[in-house]
Structure formats: structure tokens, C-alpha cells
């Protein structure tokens, strides 16, 4: 039994139940907990999850989160399509995923129970809002009888809590409408869970004060609902035990919890600061990328201009036009948007200007599953343009890594004057984890030099005369006297950039554009093979980093050797990759697509890799990867 941790105690503003004679409850220590908050789209589950996450971060646990919500903003209340959930894993050690399965399911209504119960292992805890288990709500989702009343949940620990009625009761004296009182039930649930897991509540109090600053009565009501939930846990006989998850051993420094989309946007801001260039983001709203537009639109003081364009094509056009003018042009979108932008990306290939295209991948084809994750845009990023139009491609592997991946994408775009496609996906974009805040001085220096005068030995200016180091052409921005020149999508003569229909020149320029992307300096891929005796290498890219890492770790803990390598750079590939792959008997590539990286690796290295593929709109679980890898290793 541990001492009560600072910040995890009772709510100071409210009566301490212990003073009223309740015995202190038993406290159990746990090393890892996974909670899933599930409810109707309008129940505030994302917010509840966010708050719980923030409280947990304050405590120093390592965290990983997985929001899961429908594409419909408000599907009919109480229906299965309307269920929204937020899963948070927290532990006293560093964790790589939001957990394969929850230990605790908070079900705000029958639909939330029905949609999530299959994921909750037997023995797990269910906290159900009994007020919503009405005959009508049960019928809506096809329950013939109330699962809280029959034996169907016998294998689980069920806590039946009247979340709505108790919230309304607790707010009886508050000057708020019944509707507002009912809406505060998510704060009651949060209070209860915060008590149950001994979370500090200060950040939630501060959050409520800020969120409802214009309506003090709602601040008070929501705080009271939270306190009621907390005090209910403390007093009710139903919860005999409360839990603690001690802080994780984490590197010293300042932390904040951050989602991938926010981290990515901040990475772009940081790149602009380190490049000393204005940023122009052209974007058209699209799930799951819109938050990048929202975030960047807040940062005008850093010289960030955001243009919400009329369509995806205009968005990338705006970015490219801005790059032509000497800004760092960026466009953010998802797969359908990249498809629309491909002609403009080709123009950027021909113009050899910096351009960053952020693709927060979602499940396709077509509209697909807009709120669900997938990694199926890799082939499009690599090859999805007409003509020979190579671009650099980089991928982010975790929410916090989005920050560094964004800076790397900008570095390549600026240094090599090329479009770069930055691949994120719905899983890392919406997921969150603690972020060790970087020192600004540790970020790369991205300053560039614009052309200021003639570059030819004859004293003339040659727009396509290349830097021998980077193979980049000069960035000669309008407004520079003496460097007036014309560029365009028509094939250009080497050096002069004049229109050229010469066959030999076209052949040369096509090969040059390929060679200059291939020559981009990217770091070698690192291999994690602690024993040095692994025969199987698992190779991944993007958001599979977490589940693959967790699976590899679990195997090693069981004495099974496996090597892991994860690609940041998909084009060009790291120079040492061939050597790395050749060092293992078998290479396994798990991907949330039907084998797009596997195809590239086979083609480039003539290695018969093993693909492991899933397109369910959800990340891999580490357990399934562990099982699969064990099987492969056994058979080598």
C-alpha cells in the first residue's frame, strides 16, 4: 500500500468524505491500466478522455491514447453508429501503444456497451450508466433484456452507477438547466475514474475555468459534478479498492501531452522559425488532417499564413505559389486530397521548388472510413503522379515523432528544393503521448540562401544551374533585380531553364530529377537487435512503430530474439538498408495495407519479405504481432 501521492488527494474545495466517518479505502498498486471511455457522440467522451489523460500526464505516468469516433458528427442518439470512444493506457514504465484491450470500460449507454464489450477481456471492469439502460435504448441496439440485470455480464466486474441521475441530483442547487446538468455527467464519470485511479484533479479544475469562462455557473456545475463523482467513489460500498499507478521512469525535462496533429503543426512552426522563413499553409478541411489547419491558424505571430482554399487543388497551388515567392509552402490533407493535388505536385517536381505535402492517411479507397486509420497511401506518395516525378517521402512513427518528422520534411524540401510528402495517419494524428519538450537550439538550422546575383561564369543567371552538393537549383524569388526568369511545367533545357523539346535533354532532365532525389542525404536506419543473435528482422514504417516495438519487447522478455528496424525515410531509402536486410534470414513487414512497402523492398533488394497485412481501420495490436512474429521465428 502506498502513501497518498501529492496531488492525488481529495478535492480541497469540497467536503472530505473521510471527515464524515468513511474509512479510507484500500489502495492497490498497478503498473499499467487501460481505460476506455465510451458513449454517444454527444456525451463528451473525447473531452473526458483528454482530461483523464492530462491528469495522468501530470502524475508522471507514461501514456498512450487512441480516440475512436464515427464520421457522423451526431449519429442518432443511442445507436451503435453513434458510439464514440477514447482509450487511454498509462503505466509506470514506458509504453508504446494505447493497449490491445482495455481493463476498464466506461459505458455511458447500452450502445457503448454493445459496441465495446467484445474488446474487454473477461474479468475486466465495466462502469455502466444505468440511467441510460432504458427499454427504448436497449431495443435500439438489439438487447432483448437488460445486460446489467441478466447474467450476460457475469464474467466481468460490473459497477452499476446512475451517472446521469446522480449528476442531476448533485446539481440540484445549481442555477443550470436540466440539460446542462445532464451534460455534466461526463465530469461525474471523470471524477469517479479520477478517484478510482488516484489522479490529480487540479488541471481539470483549471481547464473547466477556462472552457466555461464566459459562464461561471457552468464552471461551478461541472466542478461540482466532478466532485460528486469523486466523492461517490470514496463513499460508495461498490468500490472497495482504489488504485495507484506510480510515475514512470522518464528522462528528466519538461513534458506535455500532445497529439500527433498538434505536434506536426508545431513542427512546421518550428521549421519556419529555424529557417527564418514565413510559412504559408494552403489547406482544405478534411478528416483527419483539419486540426493541422486549425493549429497553424493560431500562430500568425510566427509569420504563419493559413489560406483555407476553395479545394484541395487550390490549397496546394497556394502553397506552391508561396514557395515560388520565397515562403515555405505547405499543404495538409488526407489521401483523397493528395490524389487531387498530384498534378500540382508534378509541377513542383518540374519547378524544383520546396513544397511540403502532409498526408494524414485514412482508410480508403474513395471516402472509405474517414475517421479510421490506414497506411495505404504509400504507393501513391511514391508513385502516384504522371511521368517520372520522384519526390521525397518521410513518415512519422508516433504522435510526438510527428514534430520531428515535420522538421525533417521541411529540411529536405528546403535543402533540396523538392516536394516532400510527409505521411502521418489517423492513429498517430489523433493519438497522444507525453512529449519531452526539445530545446530550440537542438533543432536543425534550416536557413537557406536565396539567389542574389548571376551564377554563371559568363555573368548570366541560369535558373537550372545546380549546386554541386545538393543538386538543387537556385531559389531566385521574384523581387530580386537582375534575376528575372520564367519557369513552368514544360520541359526545360538544362541550366538555362528555357523550353526545350530536345530528346536528349528530356532524357537527361528526367534522369537528373531522379538522381537528385536519390542523392538526398538521409540518416542510416538503426537496427534494434539487443542480443545480436536474431535471425528475423521486423521492418516497419510509420505508425506501426508502437505495436511492433511492443511485440518485439514482449518476445525478447520471453527469450525470443527478434530485430527491429523502422523507416523514417521511404524515399530515398537509407543507404544502409540493403546491408541491414541482408543480415537476417527473414524480413517481416507488418503494414496497414496490402503490402506496399513489401513490394518496394522486394523490387529494390530482391528479398522475399514476409508481409503481414491488416486493413481494419484500426492499428495492429501488439499481441497479434507477437503471435505472428513468434510463428515466423519458429519456422526460420
Amino acid at each position: 500500500m502506498a502513501e497518498q501521492r501529492e496531488g492525488a488527494g481529495q478535492l480541497s474545495e469540497h467536503p472530505d468524505p473521510n471527515e464524515h466517518g468513511h474509512p479510507a479505502k484500500e489502495v492497490h498498486q498497478l503498473d499499467r491500466v487501460v481505460i476506455r471511455f465510451a458513449g454517444d457522440s454527444g456525451d463528451g467522451m473525447q473531452l473526458t478522455g483528454d482530461r483523464f489523460t492530462s491528469e495522468t500526464a501530470q502524475l508522471g505516468n507514461d501514456i498512450s491514447t487512441l480516440p475512436n469516433f464515427p464520421a457522423e458528427i451526431r449519429a442518432p442518439a443511442g445507436t451503435l453508429p453513434g458510439v464514440s470512444s477514447f482509450q487511454v493506457a498509462f503505466a509506470d514504465y514506458d509504453i508504446l501503444t494505447p493497449g490491445d484491450a482495455p481493463n476498464v470500460l466506461v459505458a455511458m449507454n447500452p450502445a457503448a456497451l454493445k459496441a465495446n464489450i467484445a474488446d474487454l477481456p473477461k474479468g475486466g471492469t465495466i462502469i455502466a450508466n444505468t440511467d441510460e439502460f432504458t427499454k427504448r435504448n436497449l431495443q435500439k441496439v438489439g438487447y432483448d433484456s437488460n445486460p446489467l440485470e441478466d447474467d450476460s455480464l457475469a464474467g466481468w466486474q460490473v459497477h452499476k452507477v446512475g451517472l446521469t441521475s446522480m449528476t442531476v441530483g448533485a446539481l440540484a442547487e445549481h442555477p443550470v438547466s436540466k440539460k446542462d446538468a445532464e451534460r455534466a455527467k461526463n465530469m461525474f464519470a471523470l471524477g469517479l475514474l479520477s478517484w478510482l485511479y488516484s489522479r490529480p484533479h487540479e488541471s481539470t479544475m483549471a481547464f473547466l475555468e477556462k472552457k466555461f469562462a464566459a459562464r461561471p455557473e457552468l464552471v461551478a456545475a461541472n466542478k461540482a459534478a466532478f466532485a460528486a463523482g469523486w466523492n461517490f467513489g470514496e463513499t460508495t460500498e461498490g468500490f472497495a479498492v482504489r488504485y495507484e499507478v506510480p510515475p514512470a521512469q522518464m528522462a528528466p525535462g519538461n513534458y506535455r501531452n500532445i497529439t500527433g496533429n498538434t505536434a506536426l503543426a508545431l513542427g512546421l512552426v518550428a521549421a519556419g522559425v529555424r529557417a527564418q522563413l514565413p510559412i504559408v499553409l494552403g489547406a482544405y478541411p478534411i478528416t483527419p488532417a483539419s486540426d493541422i489547419l486549425h493549429e497553424l491558424s493560431k500562430h500568425k505571430k510566427f509569420g504563419v499564413t493559413t489560406v483555407q482554399a476553395e479545394d484541395e487543388i487550390a490549397a496546394v497551388g497556394v502553397a506552391l505559389g508561396a514557395s515560388y515567392g520565397g515562403s515555405l509552402g505547405i499543404t495538409s490533407t488526407s489521401g483523397p486530397g493528395v490524389a487531387l493535388k498530384s498534378e500540382t505536385i508534378s509541377l513542383a517536381v518540374a519547378l524544383e521548388l520546396p513544397l511540403v505535402v502532409v498526408d494524414v492517411q485514412r482508410a480508403g479507397p474513395s471516402t472509405g472510413l474517414p475517421t479510421k486509420t490506414e497506411q495505404a497511401d504509400l504507393s501513391m506518395a511514391l508513385f502516384g503522379r504522371h511521368g517520372e516525378a520522384p519526390v521525397a517521402v518521410v513518415a512519422a512513427q508516433s504522435p510526438t515523432d510527428c514534430f520531428h518528422a515535420a522538421i525533417e520534411a521541411c529540411r529536405i524540401a528546403l535543402t533540396y528544393r523538392t516536394p516532400v510528402i510527409l505521411l502521418s495517419d489517423g492513429y498517430v494524428a489523433n493519438g497522444s503521448e507525453p512529449w519531452l519538450l526539445p530545446e530550440i537550439s537542438d533543432l536543425p538550422d534550416l536557413r537557406v540562401e536565396f539567389a542574389t546575383g548571376p551564377n554563371g561564369e559568363d555573368g548570366k543567371f541560369y535558373p537550372y544551374l545546380r549546386d554541386p552538393q545538393t543538386m538543387a537549383r537556385p531559389w531566385a524569388v521574384p523581387g530580386t533585380p537582375g534575376l528575372e526568369h520564367r519557369i513552368g511545367g514544360l520541359e526545360k533545357a538544362d541550366k538555362t531553364g528555357d523550353i526545350s523539346y530536345d530528346p536528349a535533354n528530356h532524357d537527361f532532365m528526367v534522369r537528373t530529377r531522379a538522381a537528385r532525389i536519390e542523392a538526398i542525404d538521409v540518416p542510416d536506419v538503426a537496427v534494434e537487435d539487443p542480443s545480436g543473435e536474431a535471425k528475423v528482422l521486423v521492418l516497419g514504417w510509420g505508425s506501426t512503430y508502437g505495436p511492433i516495438g511492443a511485440a518485439a519487447r514482449a518476445l525478447r522478455q520471453r527469450g525470443i530474439n527478434v530485430a527491429q528496424a523502422h523507416l523514417r525515410h521511404l524515399n530515398p531509402l537509407p543507404k544502409n538498408l540493403g546491408e541491414v536486410l541482408a543480415a537476417y534470414d527473414k524480413v517481416v513487414i507488418p503494414e496497414m495495407n496490402l503490402g506496399q512497402l513489401a513490394q518496394v523492398i522486394r523490387a529494390r533488394f530482391l528479398i522475399d519479405v514476409v508481409g503481414y497485412n491488416q486493413v481494419r481501420g484500426l492499428p495492429f495490436t501488439s499481441t497479434q504481432l507477437e503471435t505472428m512474429l513468434e510463428e515466423v521465428i519458429k519456422n526460420v
Binding site: S54, A57, Q58, P478, L490
Partner: protein, 343 residues
Amino acid sequence: MSNAVPVQLTMKDFKSDQEVRWCPGCGDYAILAAMQSFLPELGIPRERTVFVSGIGCSSRFPYYLNTYGMHSIHGRAPAIATGLSVSRPDLTVWVVTGDGDALSIGGNHLIHALRRNVNLKILLFNNKIYGLTKGQYSPTSELGKITKSTPSGSSDAPFNPISLALGAEASFVARTIDSDRKHLQSVLRQAADHQGSAFVEIYQNCNIFNDGAFDVLKEPETRDDYLIRLEHGQPLTFGADGSHVVTHPAGSFGLAVGEAAATDPADVLVHDAHAEDPAYAFALSRLAGPDLRHTPVGVFRSVRRPSYDELVRNQLDAAKAKAGEPEQDLAALLNSGDTWTIL
């Protein structure tokens, strides 16, 4: 970038070293020459002038001007120019486009640039045909037009580009003709002076695929009866010896053409390009029939409203006024929100 210093440039300064490759006799030559001889009078240094074009015959224009220029992709010039203009208020950005480029594949970008009032001078060369792809009907071709792709005649109703621009909330809308250099330059001058989007439709002859499309507006025998020259503050009188006038008949939404002799002079409309209500300019744009009879040329509408560039710039400037040293601000930004420290 320093402010403009008076520069004495000539037409020669604006000619690039590239061989002009339009078909002999193309109306584009006249427009290019008019532009090259007009640009020096603006006193804007060459390096601060940028031409952005899309795809089509007209879109080769930037190659022939010794300024900065980009020949982009089909229909997208207004979008690319928007990114340039909004980020570089020190530049003068011209968009050169055609009826296919601006009204078909790029229709969306055109209307949104106009609605936003981006600081662009958009020149639409309207020859009512696809030239570079060798003679298909365009979105301004008349109904029934027989072309390679419409051997039985086009079934598409055409756009009226002036009406479209007005409907898209354009703050400056004008029309001129390739062969009338004086008029063309006068319209260009007013467009260049306009803050915000200036939309100029230029009737341009394609002598290969749609020759003579605007002859009635050019031939001395017909032009006086067909053309209405718009001058702000002047009565709408046209025809040989001012034989005809434009009026607004009571009870009608539109305008009408009548004989001057049979009209009370008080009923003759006086052109007001600055009228806030675009209904008047729209009515003017509907005067011409399919035979081009009663085609107004000149500035239909010129009103002042804040440009997109200005509004964006104001927000940026206001935010920047509160900014400190960028790296310190960045450190503060990263460290914002709920943070905690591990010792």
C-alpha cells in the same frame, strides 16, 4: 524589398529573349505588344512584376515578358497566384488565362479569387475556342457551334464571362478587344490601378480555329452599331453620330437599347462604374445578344472593397506586433498548455 524608385523602362526592357511562337496572325501578338508597351508607364521595376499563367495558347504569355513568370498547369493559375500575392504584397501579380483555362477546368479558382478579392490582375483572353488542343468548342462558344468535338453542333449553353465575374463578387470587371490597342491599354491601366482582383475579358481572335469571331466589333462598317464604349460619368450613347442610347425601362429588371431621337435625354443612362449595387453592371453585361450586337466594352464595375491580401496582412501584422524574439516565442509555444517536469 525597397520601395519603388522611379525607373525609366521601355517596351524593349519587357521583351524576353524567347522566340514568340503563336500562329502568325493570332490576336495574342497584339495583346503582347500592347502589354509590353504599356508596362513601362507603370514605373514598376521588372523584378516586381510577375505573370502567372495556366495552360493554353494565352498561357505562353509569361515566356515573352522579361519579368518574373510562371507557366503553370491547366486552370490553376489563380490559385498559385493567390499564394504568391498573399505572401508577397510588394509584387504586382498578373494572371493570364483563356476561356478554357479560366472558365472550364479552372472555373472554381477564378470565382474564388474574385470573391476573395485577391490582389491579382486577371486577363482572360476569350477566343471562344480551344486553340492549343486544335479546335474544340469552349465554355464561351455559342450554342450550336460546330467544332471537331461537336460535329452536329454544341449543346452547351455558354458562359457570359462578365456576368460570371460579377456574380462572383468581382470588384473590378472590364472588357476590351485585342485589336484596339488604345482601348486595351486604357483598360489595363485601370486594372493595374485597382486594389483587389481586376478581371479583364479580352476578346481575342483565333485566326486558325475561330477566325473572325469578333469581326463585327472591329470592322468600320459594323463596329459603331455593335459596340457600346463605357466611360464612367458619360451617357450610354453609341452608334454612328450617337444614334442609339441605353435606357432602363420602368418595370424592367434589364436595360434596353433605343433610338436617341425617340428618347428623352433625361432617360439616357449615365454610366456609373462605381455603383455599389452590381445589378446595374450585370444588366449591362446582358445587353449583347449571341450576334454580339450591343457589346459594351470598357470598365463595367470598379468598386473598392478590402483585398484578401490586405485583410490577411492586417491579421498577421497585428499578431506580429505582439511577437518577441522568434526562438523564445517558439520555446514558450512548445512549453504551453499542461506541462510537467521530471527531475
